[in-house]
């Protein structure tokens, strides 16, 4: 049955730091790579070398411009994948039972062998986290790299989602958000992590850390030009001797 399981104690998910994400899309590529070569049907591309390339992705990075009331606009890079919601609206709508939430750790998955590709779960998701693969005809979504995180064949440092493992700026964190003492939960508490579209009552597990306030110069430095002019003060050795000698003439 596609009923949601009772809330699990363990709630595995991601914490995404919008302050440090540089928008490099490495997580997009790592995700596509891992999930095309491993669990489930590959993530297909259409017209990959043509004029209109497109494909199935489980993780996409948007970029937004945020204009404050006063001051300059800020660019915020915004990675988005399945948020593994506690009240996942994509699960109960599934007519076949293919879409389910794991009772043990809260990961939302699709049983691709039972999916009929009706697309209703993608309609029910507020976040655009599910994509129907055009070639295979089944729904694809983030698995939280369930085939990595418990995989004892991998070195321990690799037992986290591919997107987290690859992120060069440390903007992605993986852990148990059901445990208030976990590193990710403490990070969320410290930085005031937020839910996306909380009014829609999906209760996402993944949290987003808002950009930190930009610091401002309290007072202008005394002589900016001095910082830029190449000077010869303190020059020693041969170059110092040349400088001193030539300055005499």
């Amino acid at each position: 049955m596609t009923a949601l399981p009772p809330p699990s104690l363990k709630k595995l998910g991601l914490v995404i730091d919008l302050d440090t994400c540089v928008g490099c899309h490495a997580c997009v590529i790592a995700c596509k790579g891992w999930n095309t070569e491993n669990y489930g049907a590959p993530l297909s591309d259409l017209d990959p070398y043509g004029a209109e390339p497109e494909g199935t992705f489980l993780n996409r990075v948007h970029s937004y411009e945020v204009t404050p009331e006063s001051g300059a606009p800020v660019t915020v890079h915004f990675p988005k994948s399945c948020l593994h919601c506690e009240d996942a609206p994509c699960v109960p709508v599934c007519p076949t039972g293919a879409s389910y939430k794991r009772a043990e750790d809260g990961i939302v998955l699709v049983n691709e062998d039972a999916c009929i590709g009706c697309g209703l779960c993608a309609w029910a998701c507020p976040y655009g986290a599910r994509e129907l693969d055009a070639l295979v005809g089944v729904m694809k979504k983030c698995t939280l790299c369930v085939d990595r995180i418990y995989n004892e064949a991998l070195p321990e440092r690799d037992r986290e989602p591919a997107c987290v493992r690859t992120c060069p700026s440390g903007a992605r964190h993986f852990g148990d958000l059901g445990d208030p003492e976990s590193a990710v939960s403490r990070l969320v508490a410290e930085r005031g992590g937020i839910d996306l579209m909380p009014d829609l009552k999906a209760r996402p597990v993944n949290k987003y850390l808002p950009p930190r306030p930009r610091d401002r110069l309290q007072e202008a430095p005394p002589d900016l030009a001095q910082l830029c002019e190449p000077g010869t003060e303190g020059l020693t050795g041969f170059l110092g001797w040349v400088d001193r000698t030539l300055s005499r003439f």
Binding site: A3, P53, G55, G119, L132, L196
Partner: protein, 290 residues
């Protein structure tokens, strides 16, 4: 939302067929022999054609039977189960009238109730979605039910029933459009809530995640044709409600019924196209669309 021809055909045709079967089941008309064969044949035919069209929409149609399993949680599954039950339960009534000229009222009544429940389940697939504020409203089941009852009344040739149901269809359609226009604003969702960046300022898309289109944009951020929505609403209203009511009023017999039925179906197809094309999914906010 993407107005897929298969879903438009499915909801319009099966709605019409189930509406007709509802009247036949309740005994609004009790045809016998060949005329019963034609009438029930039309009802079953339309319903089954609609269901077949809906299967075409699936990514893996060969697994469609699995959709009967999750009736406890899924409206889509309930719709499949109820449609099958309605057609099965109604069968003794239909067979009785066709072959023996005798009604089986108990099966007819139960089948008619199941037909109505099927239409309700279809509408709830859309009405349950908080992500599509325009659908997430009581007018969605109201339109589906009144459309089936009005269309069914035309097909049963019970002019007085049709003249009763058509104004209700016009009213619910108008309410669905007018109230629906306010639904997205009422949901309170914006690029600021979608990204959670509202406290920092106004949010605008700077760059989409990819240069090309994708499934999400095609399926849920369909914006083509909204420009003509007012014209299409007028056309749908005239074809689905006004012309059938006038035709049946002027020529209550067969000469009026057949064009009335076609006009109604054409209008409902336009209305269903709008039902999808006008509906905005909150996901579009991530792409700077509505």
């Amino acid at each position: 939302m993407h107005p897929a021809p298969s879903i438009i055909a499915f909801t319009a045709l099966s709605g019409l067929g189930l509406g007709l079967l509802t009247y036949l089941g309740f005994g609004a008309v009790t045809p016998r022999g060949w005329s019963a064969f034609l009438w029930f044949g039309l009802g079953y035919g339309l319903t089954l054609t609609g269901l077949a069209a809906s299967a075409l929409h699936l990514g893996r149609p060969e697994r469609a039977l699995r959709a009967f399993s999750q009736w406890r949680t899924s409206w889509l599954s309930r719709e499949a189960v109820l449609a099958a039950l309605a057609l099965l339960v109604l069968a003794p009534h239909a067979a009785g009238l066709v072959f023996w000229g005798r009604a089986v009222p108990l099966a007819g009544m139960a089948g008619a109730v199941l037909c109505l429940a099927t239409i309700l389940a279809t509408s709830m697939i859309y009405a349950q979605l908080r992500t599509v504020p325009r659908w997430n409203h009581w007018t969605t089941p109201a339109v589906f039910l009144t459309a089936a009852l009005a269309g069914g009344a035309i097909l049963t040739a019970r002019v007085e029933l049709a003249e009763l149901a058509l104004p209700w269809l016009a009213l619910t359609l108008a309410l669905h459009w007018i109230l629906g226009d306010r639904q997205f604003a009422r949901s309170g969702q914006s690029p600021e809530t979608a990204t959670g960046l509202g406290p920092l300022g106004r949010v605008r898309q700077l760059e989409p995640p990819h240069t090309g289109p994708n499934y999400l944009l095609r399926e849920m951020a369909y914006v083509v044709g909204r420009r003509h929505r007012m014209k299409l609403r007028v056309i749908a209203m005239i074809l689905a409600c006004l012309i059938p009511a006038l035709l049946l009023g002027l020529w209550p017999g067969w000469p009026g019924l057949i064009p009335a039925a076609f006009s109604h179906l054409g209008g409902m197809l336009a209305a269903r196209w709008l039902f999808f094309a006008e509906a905005e999914h909150v996901m579009g906010l991530y792409y700077g669309r509505r």
